[in-house]
Symmetry: C2
Subunit: 170 residues, 2 copies
Amino acid sequence: MLNYKHEKTEQIILGIDPGYADMGYGLISRSCGRDRCLAYGSLRTAAGAPTGERLQDIHDGLVKLITEFHPDQAAVERLFFSRNAKTAIPVAEARGVILLCLTQQGVSCIEFSPAEVKMAVCGHGRADKTEMQKMVQILLRLEQLPRPDDAADALALALALASTNVPIMV
Amino acid sequence: MLNYKHEKTEQIILGIDPGYADMGYGLISRSCGRDRCLAYGSLRTAAGAPTGERLQDIHDGLVKLITEFHPDQAAVERLFFSRNAKTAIPVAEARGVILLCLTQQGVSCIEFSPAEVKMAVCGHGRADKTEMQKMVQILLRLEQLPRPDDAADALALALALASTNVPIMV
């Protein structure tokens, strides 16, 4: 039997900005304290399709991402009750599917509030969207501003988790 | 090849009252316009366990129910923004998992508002909890009042769907 213990120097982190119509995702790799972007984008579900089908699309899309990139950890935005009550319920339903999927796939998950992400990426909790996107661009040395918004937020979530990480013994 | 078409006279209906700590469920069979209760209960998740694990418990419990009873259709309560904002998000997360699971298992799902259920079961939209439970007990000829509350609500949802059903050609 092969018996070994090593320090894994590369961590793959998946950031997720939960959404029902669009789920933002961002994948980064942290190695020797340096972060690089692997992929980012937005997973869209078909408007007008039944809720269950749209939730299944989110589930299946997420499984595909996990199968392709094998993330070690995921960072998911925590939801707060907003004034826009009508959209909060479908977003929370999608978030439930996302948390289920991560658990089923064995990806440990840490939740961050929007203020925690801003603090980790910009150094203060009141950064606006443009400031956040610029910091994500700088930190990941991207050629252009990350778009769409939810993909940029997902990359910021991944960076927030990366900044709190210590090497994991496996 | 066997080629037949018949009218299925028995419909199995699963009612679900979505919840994160407790998910109420009720299974009824409608045959020749007569409803009978097959099972009801509450699926509890472990307080203090991580959210993903509790959502997985809901998913796995629901798969088990579907595998055992093979429901033709499901009735799930629609969520509205309540004053109790703190519990609405976890309930919506659980509801997302429930809708996903029904879709994955091929069980078609219809959503009902609490007022629609009261109207279908009691004949008016303002019935209180006790009136609803008594009507569920009478309609399903149960020996005692259905308990706990969320299981009674789930049976009421199943009855509401049964009352709107026409025979399905299979």
